[in-house]
C-alpha cells in the first residue's frame, strides 16, 4: 500500500500526486517510471513516469491524464487514501552528460511531466537547457512555472495561440537546429506523433534526439515482451531497454499500431464503466 500525501489538479483532466514511497524515491533517477495497480485482483497494471521525487522525504510525484478506466479511478482517490501496488523504479535512467552546447528539451502535453526530471538532471550536470513546451491551448499547459524556473530559456507554443507562439513545437525546434550555436542534443517527449515529427525535424541536422516511449506494458520487468518496439531493425523491450531510445531509429508506425492493439476493447470497457457511473449517479441499479 502506497499512501497519497498530496493531490493537485493541474488542468481539466490532468492530476498530480505525491506518493509516500521511500524505497522507490531513494533509488530513482531521471527517466525512470513506476507501474501501479489499484487493487489486488481485477485492476490493470499501468506505467507512469516519475515526474519528481524527494529522497529525503521519501516521496515520488506522478502526473497523469485521466483518460482510461484506470487513470479515471486513480484520479478519484484522495489525499490519505492508498494505491494498492506501486512497483519501481523501472527502466534505464536517462544518460546525462556534461555538454558544452545547449540541450533542447521538448515536451508536448502531458509529456512535460516525464521531461521535468530530465531537465532537472541536465541542470544538475551543469548543462544549458532550452525548453520547448507545447499544448493544444493554454489550459492544457502543465508545470509551466517549474519549467520556467529550471530552464535557461523557455519557449511556449499552443495550437490555438492562446499562449506563447501559435505553432507546433517542431517550428522553434527547427529554428534552434539552424541557429548559430548548434545544440548538443535533443530530448523530445509527448504524444507519439509529436515525437515522430520532432525526430524528423532534427534528422537532417544529425542532431541526436532521444524520445521516451509509453507503450502498453504488463510486468515492467522484461518478462512478457508486450512493450516491445522495433528500433533500427532490432526488437527492444521498452520497460528494461528503455523507455528512452534514439528517435531516429524508432519505428513509430509499428509502435503506434501496437499501442492501439486493444482500442476497441478498451473503448467498450470505458463505455461500460461510464454506464455504471451514470447508473450510480442516477441512483439506479443497486
Amino acid at each position: 500500500m502506497i499512501r497519497i500525501l498530496k493531490k493537485k489538479q493541474l488542468s481539466s483532466d490532468v492530476f498530480q500526486m505525491e506518493l509516500e514511497a521511500p524505497h522507490i524515491s531513494e533509488s530513482r533517477k531521471a527517466g525512470q517510471f513506476v507501474i501501479l495497480m489499484l487493487d489486488d485482483e481485477y485492476s490493470e497494471r499501468i506505467p507512469l513516469t516519475i515526474a519528481d521525487g524527494d529522497g529525503k522525504k521519501g516521496t515520488i510525484t506522478i502526473i497523469f491524464q485521466a483518460v482510461g478506466g484506470t487513470t479515471l479511478a486513480l484520479s478519484r482517490l484522495e489525499e490519505g487514501e492508498a494505491i494498492a501496488h506501486v512497483l519501481g523504479p523501472l527502466g534505464t535512467p536517462t544518460h546525462i552528460e556534461k555538454q558544452k552546447k545547449p540541450v533542447i528539451c521538448v515536451g508536448g502535453g502531458i509529456g512535460v511531466a516525464p521531461l521535468h526530471p530530465i531537465v532537472q538532471a541536465h541542470k544538475a550536470a551543469g548543462n544549458r537547457v532550452i525548453t520547448i513546451m507545447g499544448a493544444r491551448n493554454k489550459d492544457l499547459l502543465i508545470l509551466e512555472e517549474e519549467m520556467a524556473a529550471l530552464s535557461d530559456e523557455l519557449i511556449i507554443c499552443t495550437d490555438d495561440g492562446s499562449k506563447g507562439r501559435k505553432a507546433l513545437v517542431t517550428e522553434p525546434l527547427k529554428e534552434l537546429c539552424e541557429a548559430d550555436e548548434k545544440p548538443a542534443e535533443c530530448v523530445a517527449i509527448g504524444p507519439p506523433v509529436m515525437m515522430k515529427f520532432c525526430a524528423e525535424t532534427t534528422r537532417p541536422y544529425k542532431l541526436h534526439t532521444m524520445v521516451s516511449l509509453n507503450t502498453i506494458m504488463v510486468d515492467g520487468t522484461g518478462m512478457c515482451g508486450g512493450c516491445r518496439v522495433t528500433v533500427g531493425k532490432e526488437t527492444k523491450f521498452v520497460c528494461v531497454d528503455g523507455p528512452e531510445f534514439d528517435g531516429h531509429l524508432v519505428d513509430f508506425s509499428s509502435m503506434m499500431s501496437r499501442m492501439s492493439s486493444y482500442k476497441t476493447q478498451e473503448d467498450e470497457h470505458t463505455c461500460r464503466l461510464e454506464e455504471k457511473a451514470k447508473e450510480l449517479a442516477a441512483g439506479g441499479v443497486r
Binding site: 524505497h23 497494471r45 501496488h85 519501481g88 523501472l90 504488463v218 522484461g222 515482451g225 516491445r228 509499428s254
Partner: protein
C-alpha cells in the same frame, strides 16, 4: 488412452468393485505380483472435453479414495525402487504408495513431505512420464510409461486431503537472529523460505509482482493448477512468520548488494526464474496480434482477463490462433486461447508429437479439446494486413532427417513446401532465457554463456552469502527441480549462517 467419457461417480464405483475383489486394506502382501500388475490403471476423473473448453476451472478432478487404494495396490514394491531414481528429489515412492494402499493417508503424506515441499503442485504439474513413471517397473512390464503406477495422481490425492484437513502447522526452531532475503516467490523461493523459517531464520521474500507464486500463478492456468493451491502454500508460510514484500524489483528497487549492506540481510537466495521470452526472429514478429506466451498467459491468469466483466486488463480477441512450440507453455497458451473464445487453435511444431517436451497428459487433453496439431511445420513469416495486424502466416513443411548428437532426429525443411495459413493471432511459446535484471546489476555473480547463474553443490554463487536456484540456474526447467534447488540452497544457507 481411454475412449469414451466416464464421470467421476462411475470411475469410483468401478474402483470400489476392484477394491472389494482385492479384499483390501489388509495389506498388499496377499496379492501376488502378477495379479497386481494385471490391475488396470485408474483413469483420472475429469471434466468432459466439450464442457471444459468453455470454462477456466480445473480439468482433472482427482482420484476418489477407492481409486487411490486400487491404484496404489498396483505397485510391485520393487526392492531396488527404480522410481525413486527417476524422481529429482528422491521421494520414497514405494514407501508412500505402500501406506496409501493400506489407507494410511496421513503417514503416506508425511513420507512425501520428508522430500517434497509442494506435493499438491508437483502431483499436478510434474512430467511424471519422464521421471518416476519412466523408470517404474510396472511401466516396463506393460511397455508404456503411461501405464506405470500413477504416482503423481496418488501424490495429488494425499496432498489435497492433507490440505483439506488443515495439516501443516510445523515446528519452528528458536530464532537464530539471522536475516535471509529471498528474491522471487516462485516454487524455488517458497521452498527455501519454508525450510529456513523452520530452522529459525528470519525470512523475507521480495517479489516483483503483486502476488506470490511465480510461474505457478502467472503462467500455468487455473484449469491445470488452481491458484488457491499456490495461495495455500503462501498462507502457510505467512503463518510461519515469513514476510512477503510485493512490488519490489531486486536490481532496480534495491540491488543484491544493498540488501546485504544497507538492509542487513546475512544471506540472499536468488530465485528470480527465467523470465525472458524467446522470439523466433522471423519477419512480422512485432505486428499487432503477436504475443509471447508469457504475455498472453499473464493477462489471462494473473490479470484475470478471462473475466471480461470485471477485469480491466484486456486480452486480444482472436478467431484463428497459431501457437508456436510444443512444450507445456504452448499447450497452456493454446488451451487458454480456446477458452477465451477462439474458433480455431493450432499448435505449430517443427518436430513430431513424440519429441514434444509437454507432459503427455496435457497433449492428450489439448487434442480432446479440439486443438489442431500442425506437426513438422514451421512458420517462416507473419503476414500483415494494411493496419499492421496479423493476417496470416507463411509456413514450411519439415521431415525428420538424421539423428543429431542428442539422438533426436533433426527436422529438415522440405523444399517447395511453403504454404499459407489464415491466422489472426500468433503466440510464441519457444521457452524462456534468463532475465538479466539481477545478474546485470550484480557483477559479482558468475554466469554461464546462457546467462544462467553458476553455483556450487551447496547452491552458493561466486558471491559469498548469495545463493541461487530454480530456473535462473537450471534454465527454464521444472517446478520439481526449482523446489529441489530450493531445498539444497536452504541447507547451504543454514550451514553458511552457522559458520
Amino acid at each position: 488412452m481411454t475412449c469414451g467419457y466416464k464421470d467421476p461417480g462411475t470411475l469410483d464405483l468401478e474402483a470400489l468393485a476392484v477394491r472389494e475383489n482385492l479384499n483390501l486394506p489388509q495389506g498388499l502382501n496377499q496379492i501376488k505380483k502378477k495379479d497386481r500388475a494385471a490391475i488396470p490403471q485408474q483413469e483420472m476423473p475429469s471434466q468432459e472435453a466439450g464442457i471444459r473448453g468453455g470454462n477456466m476451472t480445473e480439468v482433472a478432478l482427482g482420484y476418489s479414495e477407492n481409486q487411490v487404494i486400487v491404484e496404489a495396490s498396483r505397485c510391485l514394491e520393487c526392492a531396488n525402487a527404480p522410481c525413486v531414481k527417476g524422481c529429482p528429489v528422491s521421494i520414497d515412492i514405494p514407501g508412500f504408495i505402500g501406506a496409501a494402499a493400506k489407507g494410511e493417508f496421513d503417514e503416506a503424506l508425511d513420507i512425501i513431505k520428508e522430500s517434497s515441499m509442494l506435493p499438491a503442485i508437483c502431483g499436478r504439474v510434474c512430467p511424471q512420464e519422464k521421471q518416476c513413471m519412466e523408470t517404474c517397473t510396472l511401466g516396463k512390464i506393460r511397455k508404456d510409461p503411461m501405464e506405470s503406477v500413477a504416482i503423481g495422481r496418488i501424490e495429488r490425492f494425499l496432498a489435497d486431503r492433507g490440505a483439506e484437513k488443515g495439516d501443516s502447522t510445523v515446528d519452528k526452531a528458536p530464532s537464530t537472529g539471522k536475516k535471509v532475503a529471498i528474491v522471487g516467490s516462485g516454487p524455488s523461493g517458497l521452498t527455501t523460505a519454508a525450510d529456513l523459517a523452520r530452522l529459525g531464520h528470519e525470512v523475507t521474500v521480495f517479489e516483483a509482482f503483486h502476488k506470490a507464486g511465480g510461474v505457478t500463478v502467472y503462467g500455468i492456468p487455473e484449469f491445470r493448477l488452481p491458484k488457491s493451491i499456490v495461495q495455500r502454500e503462501v498462507d502457510n508460510l505467512e503463518a510461519m512468520g515469513v514476510q512477503f514484500v510485493y512490488d519490489f524489483l531486486v536490481g532496480r528497487t534495491r540491488t543484491v548488494k544493498e540488501l546485504m549492506e544497507k538492509d542487513g540481510y546475512h544471506a540472499v537466495y536468488v530465485a528470480n526464474g527465467a523470465g525472458l521470452p524467446k522470439f523466433m526472429n522471423i519477419p512480422g514478429e512485432n505486428l499487432v496480434g503477436v504475443f509471447s506466451a508469457n504475455e498472453y498467459l499473464t493477462r489471462a491468469n494473473l490479470m484475470k482477463a478471462y473475466d471480461t466483466e470485471k477485469a480491466a486488463t484486456p486480452i486480444y480477441k482472436s478467431r484463428k490462433v497459431a501457437v508456436f512450440g510444443g512444450g507445456n507453455v504452448a499447450m497452456d497458451a493454446a488451451r487458454t486461447a480456446l477458452r477465451l473464445g477462439a474458433e480455431e487453435v493450432h499448435i505449430v511444431y517443427r518436430r513430431t508429437e513424440k519429441e514434444m517436451p509437454a507432459r503427455v497428459e496435457e497433449v492428450h487433453h489439448a487434442r480432446e479439446e479440439g486443438i489442431i496439431f500442425d506437426l513438422l511445420t514451421n512458420p517462416t513469416a507473419i503476414i500483415s494486413d494494411d493496419q499492421g495486424r496479423v493476417a496470416g502466416i507463411e509456413c514450411l513443411q519439415y521431415e525428420l532427417g538424421e539423428a543429431d548428437e542428442s539422438g533426436r532426429r533433426r527436422p529438415v525443411a522440405i523444399e517447395g513446401s511453403e504454404f499459407f495459413m489464415d491466422i489472426d493471432t500468433c503466440i510464441t511459446a519457444l521457452g524462456n532465457s534468463s532475465n538479466p535484471l539481477v545478474t546485470g546489476t550484480t557483477p559479482e555473480l558468475d554466469t554461464n554463456k546462457w546467462g544462467n547463474i553458476t553455483v556450487n553443490e551447496d547452491g552458493m554463487t561466486s558471491m559469498p552469502g548469495v545463493f541461487a536456484g530454480g530456473d535462473i540456474v537450471q534454465g527454464a526447467a521444472t517446478v520439481i527441480l526449482a523446489m529441489g534447488d530450493g531445498r539444497t540452497a536452504a541447507r547451504g544457507i543454514h550451514e553458511y549462517l552457522n559458520q
